[in-house]
Amino acid sequence: MERIDLVGRVRPFLLLGFLIILWELFSRFVVPHYDPSGLSLPPPSAGIADAINLMKQGYLHQHVIASARRVYLGFALAAVIGIPIGILMGMFDLARRQLNPVVGILRPIPPVAWIPITLLWFGVTDKQQYFIIFIGTIFPLILHAVAGVRTVDPVLIRAARSLGADSGAMFRLLLTASLPMIFLGIRIALGLGWFIIVASEMVSASTGLGFLITEARTAMLTERMYVGMFAIGFIGYAQDRLLVWLERKIIPWK
């Protein structure tokens, strides 16, 4: 019985395991024939060894913290400004009509395209990084807040009105009903934040995971590039799981 269970547990990972082993063997035995230094594709074991090494030195978490600070501060700024704007646009026709063209013009610009001009504005500073994260995360926040308010079931609104809700109560009702969408916006924005920070730190930073990867490249430490890459992937994944869990706690009725 227990053995059968074990097989069931291992089975989904067969291909993954096979590919990792293949990669390891390929890097050890095939790559050296073409690239004696082995720098172009070190084996995964080298990456794991380097990750352990970096963690021991505290080097990895120092960069994680630098990136996290940028992501969360930039996001916080975007949330404080973007969510109220979105709610405003959702609730008031005038706000929506006036702000739609502004949002419409700025939104299609990829966040990384802001890097050169912001470097001129702020120089190579954390402020520049915050701005990039801010501009990259504010639009999903705004748009989901708008959608959240706009898609509240009209029956709900009419029901509340007929039950004698005053405007304060109506406001609270709209806000509560749009919470799931706003939360979805937050989830998407934070995911995007971790995506963008990599590019931003690659261009202009001397700390952070994006920097760690570029630094590893210039230092010819390819296995360290793996570490940076999977570290960000892992953080993004863990953050998303956490947000899903949090959503269930905060919005149990969804």
Partner: protein, 256 residues
């Protein structure tokens, strides 16, 4: 009719006010206090001016075409890999289950994180950009193709079988058309990713393209160029998305 037009125009009043305010502040007030240094807040007129200059010199067209070609090649390769792979994953669940684990490990990695690998393996140049575009647009196309195949209702398969469809016909005449809307959604998201990653990739390791152009503005000390490039990138990105939406409507009239 007239009032509708008026309404439409009036909804641009905030945008117009911002642009005019920006023109006045950046164009006349700011330079008064900063007469010596480069104007890092170029007014809209300066942005338009440089747009016109580069358009006439043909430089803008060259860089735009370079970028578009990279996206076309990268996105094309990604589509050719991801759609068949996704279909095969949907068609053979055991294989799909195995692949899904591999994908789940790779997917959370930000597309931008592949840029240094592109540089390592291909050096500075278009190959690097194409590589990064392929890697980053592959996942949304793949995931949506798999989802598309999985959402084919059993009753549709049974309908087809009981009307005499063979296994192959079932796939071509039922699974494929049913999955198509979802596949196109994947292509749209993938193209959006491709465009976003293109800019970053050209910014970091390229000597041509729109990403390179805006980075170059820094070396040239031309903030207006950076702004102009940003808007051109934004507009093309918008048009690409609009094009995909249009394609969706034309290709799938039954799926409104």
């Amino acid at each position: 009719m007239g009032s509708k037009l008026l309404r439409l125009i009036s909804s641009f009043s905030l945008l117009a006010a911002i642009l005019i305010g920006w023109e006045i502040v950046a164009g006349t007030i700011y330079p008064k206090y900063n007469a010596t240094s480069v104007n890092i807040f170029p007014p809209p007129s300066a942005v338009l001016g440089i747009f016109w200059d580069l358009l006439r010199s043909g430089e803008l067209v060259t860089h735009t075409l370079a970028s578009m070609a990279r996206v076309a090649v990268g996105f094309g390769i990604a589509t050719l890999i991801a759609v068949p792979l996704g279909l095969s994953m949907g068609a053979w669940p055991a294989w799909g289950e195995q692949m899904r684990v591999v994908i789940e490990v790779l997917r959370p990695i930000p597309p931008f994180a592949w840029i240094p690998f592109g540089l390592l393996w291909f050096g500075v140049g278009p190959e690097q950009t194409v590589f990064v575009i392929v890697i980053s647009s592959i996942f949304p196309i793949l995931m949506n193709t798999v989802a598309g195949v999985e959402q084919v209702e059993p009753v549709l398969k049974r309908s087809a079988l009981s009307l005499g469809a063979s296994k192959l016909r079932l796939f071509i005449n039922v699974v494929l058309p049913r999955a198509l809307p979802q596949i196109i959604v994947g292509l749209r998201i993938g193209l959006g990713f491709a465009w976003m990653v293109l800019v970053a990739s050209e910014l970091i390791g390229s000597t041509a393209g729109l990403g390179y152009l805006i980075l170059d503005s820094r070396n040239l000390g031309l903030p207006s160029l950076a702004f102009m490039g940003m808007f051109v990138i934004g507009i093309i990105g918008y048009l690409l998305d609009a094009g995909m939406r249009w394609l969706e409507r034309v290709l799938l009239p039954w799926n409104a």
